[in-house]
Amino acid sequence: MDVAIRCHNLRKTYDDKVEAVRGLDLDIQVGECFGLLGPNGAGKTTTIEILEGLLAPTSGEVSILGRTWQEQGRELRELLGISLQETKFSEKLTVRETIGLFSSFYRTPSSPAAILTELSLNDKADSWVGKLSGGQRQRLAVATALVGNPKILFLDEPTTGLDPQSRRQLWDILGRFLERGGTVLLTTHYMDEAERLCDRIAIIDHGEVIAQGTPAELIAQLGAHQFVEFTLDSNQDGLNREVWLSLPGVESIRDEDGVVCLNVREAAETIPALLSAVQQRRARLLHLTTRQASLEDVFVGLTGRHLREE
């Protein structure tokens, strides 16, 4: 497979002090949907803007489709579609005019009419941008990125702040772009988005890749796939970590403000033993749930923090 995006030992230091990106390596294949997942301030936007050729790295190498920004910048611009984290398009131009304007910058763009249809913006084609809802604005941003007929689409937090319906709509649009053979690099702090959309993910924290792989691989790294979470009433004499760890199938344990979270191979194997252990010690179960492991658990497992922790 051809490499779409490659960067090696990427570093970005602001004002000789703040290290936003600290030695990042990525290898993204053509046709892949690749996600940079991480909490706010992890360095996702800095990374993607360096790859987009909008920021110069302090050091490191970047090549996009085998080209470098220094030598083939103009040519690369024709091949990429970019949606920034937050662009406020001119409020007093219509949607059609805005897409038409962006299409005029490319040598061989799609027709604005086709893009309007593809992103279901036909109803709003002649409305001023100032009158659009959040979801419509975000689709317009993706429309201006798609109108140039790009090979690679860069999207910085494309669904942040959108309602569930608008998010699914955008996912569908990206899905069709991928079906046509396009490559997508997106940043997100929504783990469900990364899990559902991305072929591969790099989890970024403090400017470094702390884990990389397909969502399934990353979750498999946890060793177990299911979680059993429960809360007990205050009478917990003799109920401690060792008791829970000794239950069948338990791989590891985490305590979050009184909620005990057991990482297990198979919930059905652990739960009967858990219930009898509770009963034997005359404690009372206030709450019990089981769920599949997610990327969030991967992140918590790696950093001890939640993705969207303040």
Partner: protein, 371 residues
């Protein structure tokens, strides 16, 4: 609210992107679309229409009416109430100048008090001989003294050795409105150049729109060229509007050629466009650039002779005033419009404008923050 306008699921609308091989954009399509977008935005912004077009016209109309050439003033005179006062009044009424003088008889303190307040231009004290009390610092007082003296002498029977007559005239070309219109035109070119370029650029930078543009294959030179071109279009309208107003409403006479005036408009618009670009080259926020623009324009509003001649300022600062771009533009516009001086004879003004515009443009380009 967004939920109520349900849109059809995207996947049902179109199975895949229409794959028709698409036309290739010509070289200048980006420029043309940027210019078109800019003009559309301006046209949809009521404030822009007001400040660029309506405001200068209202200003010209207001000032033109306030300072129009007035009919000859009636001279107000006080006569101190003494035995001879009524004789003075009689003499004035019999005089040929009687239509121009209005006189009141008042007690001495009253008359002097109101003279001091400016109600009367002259006080006549008819004691033994007639005494005029006037203020040499007030032009109307000096005029009143000679007018009243002539009236009294002629009313008393003086025969003038020469027969003379007068006729009032007010020639277009020398009135205040003639001075004002080219000044307003210059000021308007400065205002709209600084705001039209400076504000627009920072607004786009703040919205991250500049960054979004440079993330496309758009040529940066096309962007700047489109911005400049939009100024040219507006400049044409501004010049046409103000000169049209001068000619149609105030019967102004334009001595220079229209081509020369438009050429000055182009040079002025580019010069102030460059200055606007420079003030906007790094500012990240609208508030910052607004302050900067006002700071740059303030000295020119005061010194560059928009509303009154800058000759009134002390000689020491004249070289500074003449080095300002608006001074050069106003001088050049007045010379061309009012005196028909050819553009070839205005090398000095043109050089000042070119230097300001050229240097600002070069500095702006090297400092400009696109992302």
């Amino acid at each position: 609210m967004a939920r109520t306008t349900q849109e059809p699921a995207v996947s049902e609308v179109i199975p895949s992107r229409p794959a028709d091989p698409l036309k290739t954009n010509p070289r200048w399509s980006g420029y043309a679309h940027l210019l078109l977008a800019r003009m559309r935005e301006l046209q949809r912004e009521p404030e822009v229409i007001f400040w660029i077009f309506v405001f200068p016209v209202l200003l010209a109309l207001g000032l033109g009416i306030a300072f129009r050439s007035k009919p000859i003033d009636i001279t107000e005179v006080a006569i101190i109430s003494r035995p001879g006062a009524t004789r003075v009044l009689d003499l004035l009424k019999k005089s040929p100048q009687s239509a121009l003088i209005h006189a009141d008889i008042l007690s001495a303190p009253d008359a002097l008090n109101r003279f001091r307040m400016g109600k009367y231009a002259l006080v006549i004290d008819p004691a033994d001989s007639y005494e005029y009390r006037y203020d040499p610092a007030r032009p109307e007082s000096v005029l009143a003294r000679s007018l009243v003296d002539a009236a009294l002498q002629e009313g008393a029977g003086r025969k003038n050795p020469l027969t003379t007559s007068s006729r009032a005239t007010s020639e277009p070309g020398s009135r205040y409105i003639d001075f004002l219109i080219p000044g307003l035109l210059g000021m308007n070119l400065m205002n709209s150049g600084m705001w039209g370029i400076g504000f627009a650029v920072v607004d786009m930078r703040q919205r991250k729109l500049l960054k979004r543009y440079v993330a496309t294959p758009m040529r940066r030179s096309d962007f700047l060229l489109a911005l400049t071109s939009s100024r040219m279009v507006l400049m044409l309208i501004e010049v046409g509007l103000l000169l049209g107003l001068g000619v149609l409403v105030f019967h102004m006479r334009i001595m220079g050629s229209l081509v020369a005036i438009l050429l000055l408009g182009v040079i002025g618009a580019i010069s102030f466009g460059g200055l606007g670009l420079l003030t906007a080259s790094r500012a990240q926020k609208i508030e910052t650039v607004s302050g900067l623009i006002n700071l740059v324009m303030l000295p020119m509003w005061v010194f560059s002779g928009v509303f009154f001649s800058y000759e009134r300022f002390p000689a020491v600062i004249q070289p500074f005033i003449k080095a300002l771009p608006l001074t050069a533009l106003n001088d050049a516009l007045r010379a061309t419009i009012l005196e028909g001086v050819p553009i070839t004879a205005q090398a000095g003004h043109l050089l000042i404008l070119a230097l300001w515009g050229g240097l600002s443009f070069l500095l702006a380009l090297s400092w400009f923050r696109w992302v």
